[in-house]
């Protein structure tokens, strides 16, 4: 076989191979767009859910809500007796 024919064959083969590789990678990237969109919408949904749950926790844990709930349940502030939670004395002294 003539040398020039071999070189021509290699060039054509190389071109075909590179074209195939490009097609494969392009196809892969094209579907990544769909995956990315899915991931982004999942992220947005989770963030939204997280935000709503945080909002609910803050609302329920606020002193304003807790004191109102306590009032509704009939708790009243005792003005006379107070309990102070001081650190207990060591057993050796606490006799």
């Amino acid at each position: 076989m003539k040398r020039s024919t071999v070189i021509l064959g290699i060039c054509i083969f190389g071109t075909i191979c590179l074209s195939l590789v490009q097609i494969v990678f392009s196809s892969a990237f094209a579907t990544d767009g769909i995956d990315l969109t899915k991931l982004q919408s999942t992220q947005a949904m989770l963030e939204r859910e997280n935000s709503l749950l945080k909002e609910k926790i803050y609302e329920q844990a606020s002193l304003t809500t807790i004191s109102q709930e306590a009032k509704n349940m009939g708790y009243v502030e005792d003005q006379k007796s107070r309990m102070v939670l001081s650190s207990p004395l060591p057993i050796a002294l606490n006799q």
């Binding site: 990237f29 990315l36 909002e55 803050y58 002193l63 650190s87």
Partner: protein, 563 residues
């Protein structure tokens, strides 16, 4: 034949030159323009809005954060029955149906906003109705889990001239640049279906979420203070009231409240005069709560001792054309300085001021921070100026000694008084404990000592005088048994058109506890109480009521030292 070869050669050369020229024009001369035109077809530049930083209480609970709400909008052309839609929305949002109808009937509009601040639940409820022509847009909104707590301290978030979020007043205003963050930009490449192409996604440039701020505010103390102050104002029929609690050793503001106030969620519904924080913007004549500063000055300058006897206290004192009386017109000849404070004796304070002299008195008061802003990290702090010395008349010096004829902000008085509780050292009051950056680094704000107006020894002596004033003074009926508390009542007449109206007063109480190792210093001020004009009968009970809760909150047990 030769001329034909030459002609073909010239033709090809000319053609190539033409192509090269054209390529040069497209790729060099018009490169930027064509590149931009190409990008416009497949690329999209998005702005990434920063998340505004949270404002947290000292326990990490957010006092201001962000929540997700929705803007309900409509495309009027796609709405089939505007009247029915208006009625439906009116039923849901309890708004006038006419306002929705008016929006929907604007001619030639393809997008009209109908309702802001729509919650997730309401959004889902509307979506289930399948109403044609409407849609929702996410809009983050400032959220205050503790409702209107500390409104004047936090400030609020409104819009600037460009429609961007901007903090106004309080912490939101003072730290707006830290809280707001920075807008970033990202370029996305989309395929023919409009989906993003992963490999062509450029990095986010410049976007930075706002920094979160942790305050020294103790949520429990703040809540207690607000509740007790509000009910105290109602109980004593006061026009308004304010109070602040500070850690004298660090200057940390633990709580701050004033009423009437506003709700930062609906700030636009309130008079703009309520936005400012009167504790730092308003001045008043402090009355007898000012006496401890002048008495401390006298003790520190060694012109008096606790046992020094007043030689001018047997009756009203005449200064220039004026007679100075005591608040109850009772006089105690040869009374000691300890008793002057106990009886809140104006004539005794005139005696101290005469011993001090104008120069020393003004110097000491300046060291206590009077006539200068405290440096608190809030927007809008104000301080009256010290008038020139040649405008001080003997009567001015005399009245200043018992807190009349001088104007201070409540924060100035609290900060100056706190020096007595802190071994004579005056600290800078501040609200912010630390700032968290978006990359989770924490910048801590250290306490700052401003001055040392009096010595440690003087502070200790003054503390004992103030403990005696609480235990034996007019407010002794309200004091907490079992605790050593140093404090002073104040009943200041209000100047109206150059005269004092005896029936209108500013009633106040200032003090710290426990006296031997102060954990807090607190000031309570009531404006024009009506059930009684005296601080001992109005502000003092509120002070002790709050103090009881603070002491329990700090697990400070009563001692047996109950003199």
């Amino acid at each position: 034949m030769k001329w034909r070869f030459v002609a073909v050669l010239i033709f090809f050369l000319a053609s190539f030159l033409g192509i090269w020229g054209r390529l040069f024009y497209w790729q060099i001369v018009k490169a930027d323009e064509l590149s931009a035109a190409g990008q416009a077809q497949y690329a999209q530049h998005l702005e990434i809005a920063p998340k505004r930083g949270d404002i947290l209480a000292s326990d990490g609970f957010p006092l201001a954060t962000n929540k997700l709400t929705y803007l309900l909008y409509a495309d009027p052309h796609s709405v089939k029955d505007p009247k029915s839609l208006s009625d439906t929305l009116s039923g849901i949002f309890k708004e006038d149906a006419a306002s929705y109808s008016a929006q929907l009937s604007i001619p030639d509009r393809v997008w009209v906003p109908l309702q802001t601040s729509v919650s997730q639940e309401v959004k889902e409820q509307i979506e289930k109705m399948n109403l044609p022509g409407i849609g929702f847009e996410e809009t983050p909104q400032r959220f205050y889990p503790e409702a209107s707590m500390a409104a004047q301290l936090l400030g609020f978030v409104g819009k600037d001239e460009n429609g961007e979020d901007k903090g106004y007043f309080g912490i939101e205003g003072y730290y707006d640049r830290q809280l707001r963050g920075r807008i970033g930009q990202v370029t996305v490449i989309r395929d023919a279906f409009g989906r993003q192409i992963f490999s062509k996604l450029t990095g986010n440039s410049g976007q930075q979420n706002g920094r979160s701020i942790t305050l020294n505010i103790d949520r429990v103390i703040q809540f207690t203070l607000e509740q007790k102050l509000k009910s105290g104002i109602d109980l004593y029929g006061a026009q308004s009231g304010m109070a602040a609690v500070m850690d004298p050793k660090t200057g940390n503001i633990l709580a701050m409240a004033s009423f009437p106030s506003f709700d930062e969620r609906f700030y636009w519904q309130y008079d703009s005069g309520l936005y400012k924080n009167p504790l730092i913007t308003d001045t008043y004549e402090p009355g007898s709560t000012f006496k401890p500063l002048v008495m401390s000055a006298g003790l520190d300058a060694n012109v008096i001792t606790p046992k020094t006897q007043c030689t001018i206290c047997s009756g009203p004192v005449t200064v220039g054309d004026y007679d100075i009386h005591t608040w109850d017109d009772k006089y105690f000849p040869q009374t000691t300085m300890t008793d002057v404070m106990q009886h809140s004796d104006n004539t005794g304070m005139v005696f101290v001021s005469e011993k001090l002299g104008i120069d020393r008195m003004l110097t000491y008061l300046q060291k206590f921070g009077i006539w200068q802003t405290t440096g608190i990290d809030l927007q809008g702090e104000f301080s009256p100026d010290l008038k020139p010395k040649n405008q001080w008349y003997p009567i001015d010096v005399a009245t200043t000694s018992f807190g009349q004829g001088i104007a201070v902000t409540p924060m100035q008085l609290l900060d100056g008084f706190a020096a007595i509780a802190n071994n004579g050292a005056r600290m800078e009051p501040h609200l912010v404990a630390s700032v968290q950056t978006s990359d989770m680094q924490t910048i801590t704000i250290p306490p700052k000592k401003l001055d040392q107006p009096i010595s440690e020894q003087t502070a200790k002596v003054m503390t004992e005088i103030l403990v005696n004033a609480v235990n034996k003074g007019e407010a002794k009926w309200a004091r907490l048994k079992g605790y050593r508390i140093a404090g002073k009542t104040g009943t200041a007449s209000i100047p109206v058109n150059g005269h004092y109206d005896a029936t209108k007063t500013i009633a106040s109480f200032i003090g710290f506890a426990p006296a031997e190792d102060p954990k807090f210093v607190m000031l309570v001020v009531l404006n024009k109480p009506t059930t009684s004009i005296y601080g001992a009968e109005t502000a003092a009970p509120i002070w002790f009521d709050v103090a009881r809760d603070i002491l329990a909150h700090y697990n400070i047990a009563p001692t047996n030292d109950d003199q």
